[in-house]
Structure formats: C-alpha cells, structure tokens
C-alpha cells in the first residue's frame, strides 16, 4: 500500500451522479468497501460508488476527513459525531445511513442510526409512515387492535402534523 512510500495518497471517488471527489486514502479507508478495493489494487483510477449521490458523498467525505483528523480519543470523536449530525434533517440522515451501510463504515452507521432513532423517539406512527414511505397495510380493525394493545405507548407523542 502507498502509505509506506511516505507521500499521502489521494483517491478519487465518483458518485452515481458523476461528481468527482478527491480524498486522502488514509481517511477514505474508514470505509471497509473502499479499503477492500484499495487492498485488491482496484483503486488505481476513479472509484465509482454507484449507490451514493454527490450531495451525500460530499457529506460523508467531510465526516471522513473530520473524524480521521482526531487522534484516538473516543470522547472527542463522539462529540465530533454529535456536532456533525446535529443539524441534519431526516432525509439527509436517511441518505447517510444508506451510504454508510453501502460503504461499510460502522462508526458512521452507528452514529447515524442512533441519531435517527433519537429523532423518532417521540414521533407518531403517521410521521414514521410518511418519512419512511411506508404504506399502512393494516385493515382499520387490525390497526385499532394493535394500537389498543399498546395504548399507553401513545401518551406524550408529538401531534401528527407535517413537520
């Protein structure tokens, strides 16, 4: 691997909407998917990432650079992750969790999925269906029965509007 030569190697990543990004290899190999490509010697030219769009990839690269600049200090890494995710809306988080899953980045996957769970915690069933694009396949009777069984879990839930 090029790291042994002493000069930092740069990789070029290509999103599925054909945007090109340069990223230091040392940061990019946080992704096991990319690391495997590098180790297999497939990273000579441009690395195509067919499941990630340019906007999401830019965000992931910001994270890669940010987190790899922090020395081995779990507290600092955690606070970087918290800050990095704090202003992301649900759609962005959902794109990122898909990207983290595809790129096989466990630390980002953990942080983003925990953030999504945190956002969902007080949300209504309607909100979840809308945001996840899920169709309600219960009959009205079935749905009423499931809700009745866990009635107390609907206390203190945010009202179901479009926010």
């Amino acid at each position: 691997m090029a790291a042994e030569t002493g000069t930092p190697t740069t990789l070029t990543l290509k999103s599925n909407d054909d945007e090109l990004f340069s990223v230091a290899e040392s940061a990019a190999i946080l992704s096991v998917t990319i690391r495997n490509m590098v180790e297999d010697g497939c990273a000579g030219g441009v690395i195509p990432l067919d499941n990630v769009d340019g906007k999401t990839l830019a965000s992931v690269i910001t994270y890669m650079n940010g987190i790899s600049a922090i020395p081995a200090d779990e507290e600092k890494k955690k606070s970087y992750r918290d800050k990095f995710l704090s202003d992301k809306d649900f759609e962005t988080l959902a794109d990122m969790v898909l990207a983290a899953n595809y790129l096989n980045m466990s630390c980002l996957m953990d942080a983003v999925s925990a953030k999504i769970a945190q956002v969902m915690e007080k949300k209504s069933v309607g909100w979840v269906r809308r945001k996840f694009g899920i169709e309600n396949d219960y009959t009205p009777e079935e749905e009423a029965a499931v809700k009745e069984e866990h009635k107390w879990t609907f206390e203190g839930v945010e009202t179901d509007d479009d926010n």
Binding site: F90, A94, S113, N136, D137, E143, E149, H150, W152
Partner: protein
C-alpha cells in the same frame, strides 16, 4: 425514503421499548420484525451492553403511591435524582423479591401470589406457587442458550424452578456438593449477574448459585481470607458479582470483593475496605443506604475523591433501588396470561418526595 429492512432493523434496535411497541402499528412487517424473538434478543443484548440504563433505577415510593414506583435517574456529576415517571407494579403493597436484566419478581402481602413484571413493557405474568414459600429465597436467571428466564425458589431441602419458556414449574430435590452435613441452609436475597442467580447463606459462610445452563445448584468458591466474619452479603457491582462482609466484630468497616466476569470465572479480587454498606454502583460511585441524616436515606460515596453526598429528599423503602433496564423480553404475547397496560399511568411532572 425506502430503507432496506436490514437498515431499518439497525435503527429500530436503538429505540426505546415504548417507541417500539408504538411502532408495531406502522405496518405488518414492522410488527413482525419487532415481535421476532431474534430481534427481541438483539435489543436485549444491546441494552445490557449499552450505557443507556446505567443510572436508571426504580425506587419504591413512600407517600404518594405507596404501591407505586418512581423511575429515577441519578444525574452524573450532580447530587440530583431526577424523577422521570411513575410506574405502578402489579400488586398493592408489593414486595420486590429479586430482579434480573429488566425483569422483577414481585409478590403480594400473602407471599403466595407472584408476578414476573417487566416495567418497561408494563406487562406482567401472574403465577401461583403450589407450595409454601414464606421462608424461601428467590432468584431469577436468564439462560443464555435457550433465552429462557427461570424463576428459582429455594427452600431448605428442595427448590422449584419456573421456566418462562415452558410456562411450568419443576420441583427438584436440592442436591449439590455441600460442605456441611446439615442441609438446612437459609439464604439471603438472590443477586443476578451474568444470567445466574447467587445467594449467600445467612447462617454460614457459603455462596451458592443456580446455573440455568444445566439446571444445577452449585457452590461458589469464595476468597480464602474469610475467617473473622460472621456473615457475607452479595451485591451487583458494575455488572460483576460483589461480595462484602463486616470486618470482624467492627460493624462500621466493610471489606469488598468482586468476582471475575463470567459464570465459570471463580476468581475474586479484593477492592478495598470501606466504612460503609454498599448497595450498588453508579458510574464510579457507590450508593449506600444509611440511617443518617434521616432514616433510610441515600448517600453516594466517591472512592476516588473520598467524598460523601447525601440525597436528603429521597426515602428508600423495602428493597430500595431496583436497577431499571429496557427489554422487550417476557412476558411473550403467546402465553395468554399477560396482564397489560392497566397499571401504567401517565407521566407526571417530577416532584420531590417529602415527609
């Protein structure tokens, strides 16, 4: 946004039990996923390993609802106990007998009716013992292989095991390698660590445990140095089995050991000597019950700084603090004897309990 089901599962594993039960209403596939025993087990393991419930306890209420519990959180770096909500148990004037990984065994005043209660799902199962167990000791075990929770009731000559998976009692003759000829041994309260229930004998220096993997009663080796003490006590310390005893006849000084992690690890490590009686650990700090400054108060001791802080507004009754952990485990819905919902009541604003 269409997320694949494996990604949805990763997200759902990080949700609270309350949200998971609510989101069973989202669609059939979510209901199936959340009800799946494999998912339940993964969620349970994550709760055991995460620090989400580290500072959460159920505290028996004194005044407002004498049969209720407060779910409280010990604030880190602060001398505050925050009351999150009120939870009703299954019985009036209930006695907490033992607890294990989010489940609590509770009995009514008669000591003949028992309920295995999961406060995070607000469900419980009632069972009746068919034998006299007023002088028995109790424990809950979690068999890691079959994922079965077992309730163990120990008497002098025999013991009974209730399997939650099989929904049945087994009565067994107590046969274990005992070092004394007299089988009449009485035990203190069961302490559950690593899914195993441990008891300290109250009239001789012996620790026994029930191993749910092979359904056997066994004797735990204890530190050799125990010579000048009258009784030993067990406690859970940071996920390990802790043992303490008074130093000789001096009842103000306590020696503490912890056992290595894992059922088959019988090594002991002496922590130190404290002039206190520990109840549980909160982070690096030790929660102690005390008669000062008021009866049944709580004091937190920090061994690093050697400081004591009292929670004066809190009164602890009965079993005192019960560790709280979220779990979807048991009672499972198919058993058909589950009583749900009716004991939960809405979140109230935090209030301090005063005389």
């Amino acid at each position: 946004m269409d997320l694949p089901i494996e990604v949805i599962e990763i997200v759902l594993l990080k949700l609270s039990v309350k949200s998971l039960l609510r989101f069973k209403s989202v669609c059939k596939s979510w209901n199936i996923l959340i009800s799946d025993p494999v998912f339940v087990c993964k969620h349970h393991l994550r709760q055991l390993q995460s620090k989400d419930s580290e500072n959460l306890f159920l505290l028996k209420n004194s005044k407002v609802n004498s049969y209720g519990f407060s779910l409280v959180k010990f604030e880190k770096n602060g001398r505050k106990i925050q009351t999150l909500q009120q939870v009703f148990g299954p019985y009036l004037w209930a006695t907490v007998l033992c607890f294990c990984e989010g489940l609590i065994l509770i009995s009514d005043l008669s000591n003949e009716n028992f309920a295995l209660w999961n406060p995070s799902t607000r469900t419980h199962t009632i069972f009746h013992a068919t034998f006299y167990c007023r002088e028995a000791a109790f424990g809950i075990c979690h068999d890691p292989i079959t994922d079965d929770f077992k309730v163990v009731i120990v008497k002098s000559y025999d013991y009974s095991v209730y399997s939650c998976n099989n929904n049945s009692w087994t009565m067994l003759e107590k046969r274990y390698e005992t070092k004394c000829s007299d089988y009449r041994v009485e035990y203190g309260l069961g302490v559950c660590v690593d899914g195993v229930s441990y008891w300290a004998s109250t009239d001789e220096l012996q620790i026994v445990y029930y191993d749910p993997r092979d359904d056997n009663f066994k004797i735990l080796e204890k530190p050799e140095i125990l010579i000048d003490t009258k009784s030993i006590h067990l406690v859970e310390l940071m996920g390990c089995l802790g043992m303490y005893c008074y130093k000789g006849s001096d009842e103000t000084s306590v020696r503490i050991w912890t056992k290595g992690k894992g059922i088959d690890n019988h090594s002991w490590n002496e922590l130190s000597t404290w002039r206190i009686e520990p109840q549980c650990l909160v982070g690096n700090e030790i929660v102690i019950r005390t008669n000062e400054p008021k009866d049944d108060g709580l004091v937190v001791y920090n061994p690093c700084k050697n400081t004591f802080d009292a929670f004066e507004e809190i009164k602890v009754f009965g079993f005192g603090l019960v560790p709280y952990m979220e779990t979807l485990f048991f009672p499972v819905e198919k058993s058909g004897r589950i009583i749900t919902g009716e004991f939960g009541f809405p979140i109230e604003k935090p209030e301090t309990m005063e005389d």
